[in-house]
Structure formats: structure tokens, C-alpha cells
Symmetry: C2
Subunit: 366 residues, 2 copies
């Protein structure tokens, strides 16, 4: 029964025992947001166990209003766990997710370690919740934050018009690179604010100094057209994730996807400019109606009145914000859109929590 996770242990028939949840990586940027989300959503969990590196063990964090002590990552930490959420680096997830599964847990993993494994479903509940039920390795992957920032909206449009091509340019926030990204941007902003720097070649570089944190160039007063690590033919890992993951989530293995991923001096919330081409002709009116009614999407589209999505407005909220919907002037099958999604919430912690809740409902169903 390893492959099906802990289904054998949870009493069926609706006896009311609530599943035990482990949060692995509870002290990280995403983990911190996840604890807040667990306190806000309808509570389907019994015990919530907080797990982190040995360095963080013993810290006490608040979850669901109760102070909870962090335990060190170990085989024993998964004893009795029904669902384990992982928000840790790829190599940690690759090592420990199978350990959790062997102890009987279903793993919901937010790393890149398993996303493209054909035996691991990649799930966005608004788009392909059904895929979460088929998990031969006992693992369900949560998509990359950049893909997640647009895919709920694109899934809704695809269901109506049939998606054939995506060309996207991203405006990615510092927190996509973790707490180090946030700290780096804050320090750089403090170094340049109140100066007259920023309009001569190299003066931002000189002001922020050599410590660029997780970024390959200064981020304050700048944009950096690189995220992730180098892949073949000039592509970045982040750009290929957008392509591979969009194809897998939408079930469109031949979807044409080109992404350019760019970091911008925003703390949290990724934005994307999307050119989406469909099999069928589209209209702005139809697109507005679909997006206005799509679960998990908020349509904000009256630019003449200042109504469009921005990170400053979307940050801290759950939905994908969509606006600037236009039909291509040269192609009746193509739409332009601008989307914003909180990369720590829907882009990571919220979608992980939603997947875990889908599993919890399955485990406790009569």
C-alpha cells in the first residue's frame, strides 16, 4: 500500500479521525506562509507536526493559534503522519520524500525534484484535481511558482478555446529566491534610496557592492533577465519549467511554450505578460466572462479607470489576478493578458495546502 500512501491506516467510513499533517521546511519563506494559511483555512487536520533542519529544531512556532515545537527531520518525524508537505530544496526532497512515503505518508512536494517524473502527478486543484488520485510513488508535486502564477487563468481559457501556444515574459519577485532574496533586495534598496544613483553606468553596482545575494546582478533599480540555472541552448531552468510544467498540468504535451524569466525589484508576487494563442477564435467579452467566473481568478480590467492587477495589490491574497485582456490586432485566435499571483501563496504554500486538502478529503471519505 506504499504507493497509495496512508489510505490503509486512515479509518474509512467517515469515523471522523482527522489526518495527521507534517510540514517539512516549516521555518523557510514558504513554510512561514504555509503556517499562516493553515490557520486561516477550514481546519481538516488532526495533529500538525512541524519539521525542519536540526538547526531549527526546538524553535516554537504558532500554528492554528497554538505554540508548536519544531522537530528535526528524521525517519521518526514521519511516524503516524498521513500527509507530509515538503517545502525544502530539491536535494532534501529527493532524499526524504521517499522516506516519508515508506512510513505511510502521502507527500505533497513543492520542490522541483519530482515534477517531471511520469509517476508523479503535478497538480493545480482548479485545473486537474483528478490527477491527484493517481500517484504511483505516493508523491504529488506542486508546480513552480512562475507556472502557478498564470496556470489557473490559462486552464480556464483553455477549457473553452483550446490552448495552442503560450509566449510569456515574467516579472518575478525577490522572494521567489527565498528569504535571502528578500533580505538582499531590502539591503540594496536601503543602499540606493535617498541617493541620486541609478542614472549613470555602473553606479547601482558600486552602491550595492559585491554581495548580490542569490541574484546574478543588482536587483534594486534594475531588472535581471535570469532566474534558475543554465540549461541547453541558452535557456534557464526556470524558463524550461514554465514550458514543461504548463504542458503537464494542462495535459498538452505538444503545447508550444516560450518563456523569458526576469527578476524585478518587487518583494513578493510574480507577474506575467502572456500571449496566448488558441485553436478557436476568441473575443475579449468571452474571455472576460470565463475569467470572471473561474474559481481562483479575480478579473480586474478597466485600465482607463486605473483597474489592472499589480503586485502591490495582489500580494497576500489567494487568487490569480488577471487584467489587460486584449485580442491580438493581427490574430483573432490570440489574447494578451497580464496576470499577478502571490508566489508564496498560490505560487507555493496555498496550492500545496489545497492539494493536501484534496488528499485529506480522499483519505477520510466514507
Amino acid at each position: 500500500m506504499t504507493g497509495a500512501g496512508s489510505a490503509a491506516r486512515v479509518p474509512s467510513g467517515g469515523t471522523g479521525r482527522r489526518p495527521t499533517l507534517a510540514v517539512v521546511g516549516a521555518t523557510g519563506a514558504v513554510g512561514t506562509v504555509l503556517l499562516g494559511i493553515l490557520s486561516q483555512r477550514a481546519d481538516v487536520w488532526g495533529e500538525v507536526r512541524l519539521v525542519a533542519s536540526a538547526r531549527s529544531a526546538g524553535r516554537k512556532l504558532i500554528v492554528r493559534g497554538a505554540e508548536t515545537e519544531v522537530v528535526a527531520l528524521s525517519e521518526e518525524a514521519f511516524e503516524g503522519v498521513d500527509v507530509a508537505m515538503f517545502d525544502v530544496p530539491d536535494e532534501v526532497a529527493a532524499q526524504w520524500a521517499p522516506v516519508a512515503v515508506a512510513k505511510g505518508a502521502v507527500v505533497v512536494d513543492n520542490s522541483g525534484a519530482f515534477r517531471m517524473d511520469p509517476d508523479v502527478p503535478l497538480v493545480v486543484p482548479e485545473v486537474n484535481a483528478h490527477a491527484a488520485r493517481v500517484r504511483p510513488r505516493g508523491i504529488i508535486s506542486n508546480p513552480n511558482c512562475t507556472t502557478l502564477s498564470m496556470i489557473v487563468a490559462m486552464g480556464a481559457l483553455h477549457a473553452e478555446f483550446g490552448l495552442s501556444e503560450l509566449i510569456v515574459a515574467s516579472y518575478q519577485a525577490a522572494s521567489g529566491a527565498g528569504q535571502a532574496g528578500v533580505a538582499t533586495l531590502r539591503a540594496q534598496l536601503a543602499a540606493v534610496a535617498g541617493t541620486d544613483l541609478g542614472e549613470k553606468p555602473g553606479d547601482v553596482r558600486r552602491a550595492v557592492g559585491d554581495d548580490l545575494g542569490p541574484f546574478p546582478a543588482p536587483l534594486a533599480l534594475n531588472v535581471v533577465p535570469w532566474a534558475g540555472s543554465p540549461r541547453e541552448a541558452g535557456w534557464s531552468s526556470e524558463e524550461l519549467k514554465v514550458r514543461d510544467e504548463s504542458r503537464k498540468i494542462l495535459g498538452l504535451p505538444e503545447l508550444r511554450v516560450s518563456a523569458t524569466c526576469v527578476r524585478v525589484p518587487v518583494l513578493t508576487t510574480h507577474s506575467l505578460a502572456v500571449h496566448a494563442r488558441f485553436e478557436n477564435e476568441v473575443t475579449v467579452e468571452q474571455a472576460h466572462e470565463i475569467l470572471a467566473n473561474a474559481p481562483g481568478v479575480v478579473l480586474v480590467d478597466d485600465p482607463g479607470e486605473g483597474e489592472f492587477p499589480t503586485p502591490a495589490d495582489a500580494v497576500g491574497t489567494d487568487p490569480t489576478w488577471v487584467g489587460r485582456v486584449r485580442r491580438s490586432l493581427d490574430d483573432p485566435n490570440a489574447l494578451e493578458l497580464f496576470v499577478c499571483g502571490d508566489n508564496l501563496r498560490k505560487g507555493a504554500a496555498l496550492n500545496t495546502a489545497q492539494i493536501a486538502e484534496v488528499v485529506a478529503a480522499e483519505l477520510t471519505a466514507p
Copy 2:
């Protein structure tokens, strides 16, 4: 001879009299950069007369090392002027450019007033210098800064591969909205730097207050998917300029163009993520060779070594910086590129100066 500008007055045959230049709007954001550029480039001008609104008349500015008094905009200000550069709002240019032409000047105008007039050429010297010679109204238009930030590179690739489609997303700097844009971003950065703001909904809005300057939303710690004014079907004027002007400069009236224009918290230098589709198959190697040899272009493309264009590096320089060149994985005829260009230099003042120099060479040719 009005239509041909001052050709009748400038002695032909290479007698050596240098043409008189007027700079209209000398005290603005672009005008200030223009005066610096006039001091740096090979000096082809006789008198340089500085013209601005009556409010600025009497101010003394340095040009070519000499203190020069600003005179008020009037018909008399164009007396004896051979070439007049205009960097003023559209309505001022619409009123005064014909006055300058009537006084015998060739006008090089950086406003949007005449760009799409079929009797006014729209010129980027590296791409279509020949067009500057045919100017039935005596006016030559300088393109919009966003178009200019990519068009030199796209012109070079078009000459080899035949451009058929452009899909672009911009990362536009605050100074594209003038000195008020720069002042607004600096004030907003000072308000948020050193705080813990930026990760809760609305807290950037509260911190920067009601004075958003020329922008429809806060720009610090944010991106704003709107530039210009509303046009039909949800498009902004800035987005339609990219389409209309690219078509006119490249001489491709049927070119498919979709642009999404977004303001980012950068002071100066616009960037664009460009998806360019061609009539013919492309390779990254060929594109690299073309771009490395194109006048006015610098190729910076080794992202694994941290080599890609950013605004912090391109600001204050003349060329268009190009990097992140990739061939679409799903379309052998398409390239992805990331380009940066200083919106006040090549995006405005430098291109204006280059056009004026083309005219000066024509006026003084033997």
C-alpha cells in the same frame, strides 16, 4: 522650398558654414541629456540656440563647454535656424514645428504629433537613414522610446531573416514619464526603503500616499502594466505606438505586432523581452553573428557567466544591448531576445541628434 527645409539657405559646395541648430525643450529630461550628447559627439554645428517655455527663458545652461542663455519659444527664436530639434509635449510640437519649418528650419521632432503622418518620415539612422531625405512637410519624426529600445537590433535581424511577427513585453523606466517620473520613483523608494513594507496587501499604497506622480499606481516595489492613455479595445497608446512605429520604420505595413507595456521601478533604461518570428529559419549562431556586427548594437550573451544586458549596465550608454538569444524550442523560425536601451539617449536624445546630423550632412554636402 519650405518643404525641403533650409536647403536653399545653406551654401552648397562645401563652403564650410556650419548649420545653426535650435534645441526646443532644452530644460526637460530629454533636453538635458541632449545637451550632454551635443557636447560629446563630433561637433557639426555652428550656433546652438537653446529654446524653452517662457518660464525657463533666461536660464543659463552649459552646452559644448559654453554657458548659453535659454530663449523663450517664439517665431523669432527660429530666425536663421537650419535644424530644430523638438523635445516638447505633442500639442506644443503640433503648434510650433510648422512655425519653425515656415522660418526655414528642418524639424526633428521627438513628440508623437507627426510620427504616423504619411508625409513625415520616421527615422532610425541605423535602419532607414535614407527615409530622412524625403520630408514633404519639412519634419522628420523620432520614434517613441520603447520602439527605439529594440528596433536597431530587430532591423539588423530583419535584414537577414525577414521579420514576420513581434510579441514584446516591456520593462519601462520611470524617466520615460519625464522628470516627474524620476522624482516620483525616488520619493516612493525613500518612503519604503528601510521599512518592512511590501509583503502585505495595500501597504505599499499606504506608504507612498496619494501622490502617484505621472503613474496610475505605486511604482516602488511594484510593476505597473500601463503606460500612455487608453485606446480602442483595451490597448494603451504606448502599445499601439510599438506596433505602428515598428511597421513604419521597417517598411512592413503588415507586420504582426503585439506589445504589453509595463512600467518597472528602474530610473532610466527600457528593457524588452522580444519574441521575433521570421520568414526563414534562424539559428542562435547566425543571430549572434549579425548582432555582434550590427552598428549600434552590443551583444552580451553568456548567462552562465552572468553576462546579459541589464538597465544598471546599459544606462548612460549609446547602444542597444542584446542578450538571452534563444531559438524557440517549438518554432525554428522564432527567436527570443532580451534588449536594453537607455530611453533618454538612443530612446530619445541620441537618435534625435543622429537624425539631425544626417540632415546637417545633407545640407552641407558639396
